[in-house]
Structures are given as C-alpha cells and as structure tokens.
Symmetry: C2
Subunit: 313 residues, 2 copies
C-alpha cells in the first residue's frame, strides 16, 4: 500500500534537547530504524516537522549583526534542506539499493487566512519571562506561555495546494522513497497571474501531510509522535487509549491544540476525504501502527478490524 508518514518535530528531537546536528543525526537514525520496516513493505512518502529547527535557525540568524534577519519562508527552506538531508542519508543507509529523494516543497496558503491575525504555532526554545519580554520588544516577536516558560509563536495558516505535487507523484509512481513537504512545506501565496511569493508563517506538518496523502491517493496516513495512542481524558485518572475510532467519534472529543489536536484533525480530514485509514501512534511502533496493530486507528464507517486487514494486504 501507499503510506504517507508524518514525523513529529518531537519524534526527531525530544523536548529540551538542543537541535544540534549530531543530536538530530542520532535521533533521526532512531526514527529511520523504526520507519525502515514500513519502507521495506510499502510505498513510502515521508514528511516531517521543523518547529525546533526553524526556531534555532531564526535565533542564530538574529544573533549575527552582520546581516538582516532571515524571513521565515527562507528559514523554512533551510530546514527542508537540513532535516531532509539527515533523513535521506539515514534512509539510504538503512535501505541499500532503494532510491531516496528529498524534494523542496512549497504549499499555497490564503493571505486572508485568519491565522495571520492570531499566531499560534510555537517555534524554537522555551524562554524565561524576562528574556521573552526582551525578545518581544527587540524583534517584534509574539511570545506565548508554553511548557512553564514562553515560546515564540508564528501564524500557522491552513495548507492549500502543494506546488510540487506532480513531481512528487512522478517520483512515487517510479518507486522512489520521497522526503517532502518538510516543516509543512514553505508557505507561499499565489498571485493573480499565478506568481508565487513566500510568506512569514509555518504550516502545521500534520495538516500538510493530510493534503499530501489525499492528493497522492495514499492508502494510509501515518502520524508518528512520542505517545503511543490518542487518549480519552488524557492527564486524568480516567485516561484510556483509543484503539479505533471514526472521525465523527473523534470530533466529539477535545485535544490540545499544540500537539494532539492537529494530528486528530489531520486523521479525520484524511478519512472524511475518502482515505481508507489514518493512524496515530509512537514512532518506535511505526511498523505495528502501520499494520493496524498499535496506536489509534481512524477509519470510516466500515468495521475497523476488517478495514485494517484489508489495507494490510
């Protein structure tokens, strides 16, 4: 089957870890070990987050006075190169003889998206309050409370058309393992004559992954993160993992907007748009989640067990 796998920024970089190259290389090696088994049995397209990485590049750029700060679209392109390189290299090393390609990807957004009036996507490290206030003042950043401190937040508009879709499809159809739409894709607006122009935003990579999976007619959208399943009543004594659900069942529940929310939304959209199955689970369980044996399986009206069996073939 054709699988689109979205790797969370947290799966590539644990909370609190500095996004240094060697640390990322080790974590990506671990991620690829988990993904390789999926790649051995299925067509695989890999996409990934870039929150910690784009935040680091923004700080590094702002720390050097010799050049103007780099806009977020260009920083996003840099992270597609950086993370894509590390992923592709480890994928090639884990899958000798397999063609792997990393494609720069732009995603069209609506310049009137309400997200521009209300930045929500956290990028970069956690700052103490004093430092956060100073950064807001000095750089015009918006900062919001996060993980006991403050993080920079940027607009996260809805993903639209994937600019490079025809090329991605060409490569996937030819059997190439494609890494693309990194960081949710570089956000661009499309002018009246079709002219593309980058904008300062970061698209959610799970929602972009859903667009990619739907556009490629994937059989499975695999959303991999650092928790083993979606939980009902998470953080309470009544917490329990959800093994299987339909979009309408999931849409009755509430999930944190910064982490599980977009994954559940992406899974629901994929199935609602005709995708056979979406699954949310832990990166290290990738193979079992893809097989329908772990994580949270999201399907339409058919009985879940049969659907998982059918798509497993």
């Amino acid at each position: 089957m054709r699988v689109v796998a979205a790797l969370g920024g947290n799966a590539l970089l644990r909370r609190g870890e500095a996004p240094e190259a060697e640390r990322q290389r080790l974590n990506i090696g671990r991620a690829v070990a988990a993904l390789a088994d999926v790649a051995r049995h299925h067509e695989l397209v890999v996409t990934h987050g870039n929150g910690p990485q784009v935040g680091l590049l923004a700080i590094q750029a702002a720390s050097y006075a010799g050049a103007a700060p780099t806009p977020l679209d260009v920083l996003g392109a840099e992270t597609e190169g950086m993370i894509g390189y590390l992923l592709e290299q480890e994928l090639r090393n884990a899958l000798p003889g397999r063609d792997v390609a990393t494609l720069l990807t732009q995603v069209v957004i609506d310049p009137d998206d309400p997200a521009f009036a209300r930045p929500t996507k956290p990028i970069g490290p956690v700052y103490a309050e004093q430092e956060a206030l100073a950064l807001a003042e000095a750089r015009g950043w918006t900062l919001a409370p996060d993980e006991g401190g403050f993080r920079r937040v940027v607009p996260s508009p809805e993903p639209g058309e994937i600019v490079e879709l025809s090329t991605i499809r060409l490569l996937v159809d030819a059997g190439v393992l494609v890494v693309c739409a990194g960081g949710g894709g570089i956000p661009v607006t499309e002018g009246p004559a079709g002219a593309l122009h980058g904008v300062e935003a970061v698209i959610d990579k799970d929602l972009a992954g859903e667009r990619l999976a739907s556009a490629l007619d994937a059989d499975l959208l695999l959303l991999l993160t650092d928790v083993s399943a979606v939980e009902r009543d998470r953080g309470t004594a009544a917490a329990s993992p959800i093994q299987a659900a339909t979009p309408s069942e999931l849409r009755r529940l509430r999930f944190p907007s910064g982490s599980m929310g977009p994954k559940v939304e992406a899974a629901c959209r994929f199935v609602e748009r005709g995708g056979a199955r979406a699954a949310i689970g832990a990166l290290e369980d990738a193979s079992a989640v893809a097989a329908g044996d772990a994580g949270t399986q999201v399907t339409g009206d058919q009985p879940v067990g049969r659907s998982a069996d059918a798509t497993r073939a």
Copy 2:
C-alpha cells in the same frame, strides 16, 4: 539540446553584498530572467554555488551560544534548501506551466583527497587581519588572504559520484527543470558497506556541474559568472577575450585558482570526456552564450563554428 547551467556564487551575489534574503531574491530574479530564455528552448538543469551563503550560515550558527556550531555538510544542505527555494520560485514565476523541482544532492568524495590537508575554498565574508586572527584562534578556522583581507578557507575535494543521479535523470527525462547539486553537492564519504557520511568540506560547483553534465549526457555545459569571457593575459595591457578554444589550448594557459581556474578546468574535462561543448560567459548573456554567440566556447577537434551550429539545432 540538454543544457546543464552552473551559476556562480558571484552571479547570485555581487562581491561585497551581504547574503541577505531580499538581496538574494532580487539577484536571483535577475539571474532567472537571463536563464529563462535558455529554459524556453532547451532541457535545462541548474546548479549553483554557495560560498557566500554557507559562510553566512556558519557565522550565524557560531554567533549563537545556545547550540554547538553546525558542521559544514549540514550547512551545505541548508544552503541547498535556501538557494534552491529562491531559484525554483523565480524559475516557476518566469516559466508558467513548467514543472520545476529542487532536489537535495549528495556527492561522494574521497576521504584521502589531498584537499583535506590543504584548505583552499573561500567561504563567507572578508575579515580584517585582527578579526581573522581572533576567528582562527577561537574557532579553529583556517583563514587565507583574499580581496585585501582574509577569508575562511575550507577543504574542496574532487567531486565523485552524484548519489541522487538516477532520480535527477528520471526528472530531466520527464521534462522537469531540475535545480540540483547546489553548492557543488553535499560532500559525503561512502563506507565499505556503501553507508554515506557527511564530511566538513565544500565541493567546487563548476567541477560538480561537470560531473552532472557528463553523467546526464548533456549537450552543453554552461558556466555562468560575472565576466563576459575567459581572457588571455587577464589584468595586463595585453588582455584579450578568448572566443573559442580546445581543452589542449586552454590547458597551456594559467588561470586564477579561486575563480576562472575551476571553470576552465570544468569546461576542459567536459569536452575531454566526450561532451560536445562547454561555454563560459556572463550570466546576463546566458542565451547568447548558449547559442554559441558570446562568451568562450570550448569544443574538441571539430571547427568551433560548425559545432556550435550543430548543437544549436
């Protein structure tokens, strides 16, 4: 005909200009205006330098104390994303309806290449002597005299196999305008079991462009820079442009190692390895240089005029 065009870092960023995103966007727009006419009439593969850009990212990374400095292979990957993005976006805007793809590219080098003992490739800005001494001390960089000051120099090993070649060929054969091997490609070594590993170096983009052009059986290797032709006795009263030459004629002359040297070497190698024609000239003359009507035309034993006419068809 199939054309591989290599854009000099100096063509994208004039000497002394800070490699800021907006400046690069303007210059790349200018470069693409010159290239678009070539793209309208021929299959085109674009590669580009990254000297100023990889140097800036290295300084930005080193200016922030919160994370370890990023190694050069990862910085190279970042520049492939950054420059590739700006190039692809402008190419798409200039050529509506044309598929354009930017592919992350690794190039295999020999870990025993003598270049590692003798860094020669300048990256980043020009420093005054005091600052250069301080940087050499603090960061272990090698700095060499350049343009009246000092620039950081890094090893520049010979390019070998292009890791993503089969994918590049697939896209070119399908009519996609491909941007690849940016910055000469990310230098990697190939272990005994074929495992790839990045190394701290920057490959010359003209020599990598030659490898690309030869491997793709290109009809023309187009080396575009900020001077209109290779000159005999450049910088003297007897200076005169060379309109046409064979590799053996060019190999009798001497050219500056940092700028024209690698272009002449790349042109000679391409023709010696069976390529019909290489041409060196100004970016703004791209179309005329490609047509054989400007710049320095390098061909084998056949009369140059006929060769140029034949390949123009």
